[in-house]
């Protein structure tokens, strides 16, 4: 138990990022989204607003979807972080990604990583969600292109293909 803890301007972040251990020392005020984009060059995590609203920056922290623009990088020290880039298995898209492509759940693609990560988490908890459950799960993600119908169909398709086994 250390009583040495003092507020410091730089923090060392050790995290399992997309399956790889990474360690970086960054300014304490670095947002998780900025850490991912600017320090880890994972630019699939997008910035769509500054107000923690749009969900384009959604990533999984210990499996839970969170808005990475609304967390400090320091907070994922010791945690597991999965970004959209970490979902595919080599060349093979994650079933959720494949379903979004096949069902045209993505047009301009800017919102897509946020939706895909959030849906991966949804289907882990609830492998067979109803339309209403899907809609209410996705209120933290805004899409301006699709009008959501094909996003919802993508989720249903992914659920059907994953057939309840979560992967």
């Amino acid at each position: 138990m250390s009583t040495e803890t003092k507020p410091s301007e730089r923090v060392t972040v050790e995290t399992t990022l997309n399956g790889t251990e990474v360690e970086q020392t960054v300014p304490a005020g670095t947002l998780l989204s900025a850490f991912l984009r600017n320090h880890e060059y994972l630019t699939g995590t997008h910035r769509g607003c500054e107000t923690a609203k749009c969900g384009a920056c959604t990533v999984l922290v210990d499996g839970d979807p969170v808005k990475s623009c609304n967390m400090l990088a320091a907070q994922v020290d010791g945690a597991t972080v999965t970004t959209v880039e970490g979902l595919a298995d080599g060349e093979d898209l994650h079933p959720v990604q494949q379903a979004f492509w096949d069902c045209h759940g993505s047009q301009c693609g800017y919102c897509t990583p946020g939706f895909v990560t959030n849906v991966v988490a949804l289907l882990e908890d609830n492998p067979d969600p109803s339309v209403e459950e899907i809609r209410s799960h996705l209120t933290g993600n805004i899409c301006r292109c699709t009008g959501y119908t094909k996003i919802i169909e993508s989720v249903q398709e992914a659920a059907a293909r994953m057939d309840g086994d979560g992967k």
Binding site: M1, S2, T3, T5, K6, P7, S8, E9, V11, P27, A28, G29, T30, L31, A34, R47, E50, T51, A52, G55, T58, D64, P65, V66, K67, C69, N70, M71, L72, A74, Q75, D77, N118, S136, H137, L138, T139, G140, N141
Partner: protein, 301 residues
Amino acid sequence: MLIPVAPQWETDVQGLKYANPETVEEACTLLRDHGEDAAILSGGQSLLPMLRQRVGSYDKVIDINGLPDLEYVRETDGEIRIGCLSRHVDVASSSVVEEHCPILADVAAEIGDVQVRNRGTFCGAVAHADPSGDPPVVATLLDATIVARNADEKRTLSGSSFYHGFYETDLSKDELVTEVRFPVLSAGEGAGFEKYEPTEGAYPVATVGAYLSLADDGRIENATLVTGALEAGPTPMDDAAEVLEDREPTDDVLTEAAEQLGEDTMPVDDFEGSAAFKTNISKKLAKDALQTALDRAENER
């Protein structure tokens, strides 16, 4: 609600200092030493937007997420106790809550969106006192007990008198809320919560919480009504509650109380709507919240 007149948003919070204490004592010591310019970081769902807008004078955050044993929702001694690291999602899905105080789940399940609920803490929201925050409304409604600590002592504060307008509470800068306790609602008691949000997941524009207890003869014994988002924070609506007391809980009586609440609330015109609109919608929310409270009170009997 956002703090108005936000000139700019930082992409990173420059010059911020960060500490992550491992014990409550350590956290309290840090708060004592840095209280004026340090903020507690729990869920961060309100703090991060504030820091990015440079609202407030903080340049340090004390991240309490590493503190042990503070993530729980349990029933002890007739109270539901929520540890300060329990997230909205934990409250929303707690079976203890569902059984003993379902209004808490109603509230928690509708805060923001999934991502916000995964991080934001119920106690943090109680402490933060956002005027449009939902947890402060139930903390006031049910007179929650707020357990706060500083480096020297632990004390408990009463939810019904905790709030004093815009982001103002009885907490002092060096205090950490470790737990918030809600009463277990027993037979003949019920509470309901309703809110109006312009789109799903948006901050509410008007909220109403209602509590009723029924006497053996079915008449209303005690009633409490509290609004949120309409004024500078949770606002008890005593005259409206008085309408109900000692009356038969008929539809007309509930309507009368709801109308009274609307007449008494004092919202302001803004881009979310005129005061008149907010008044009208608060009546509807009050009626629905009372109906839920009544249904629950009657079911539990």
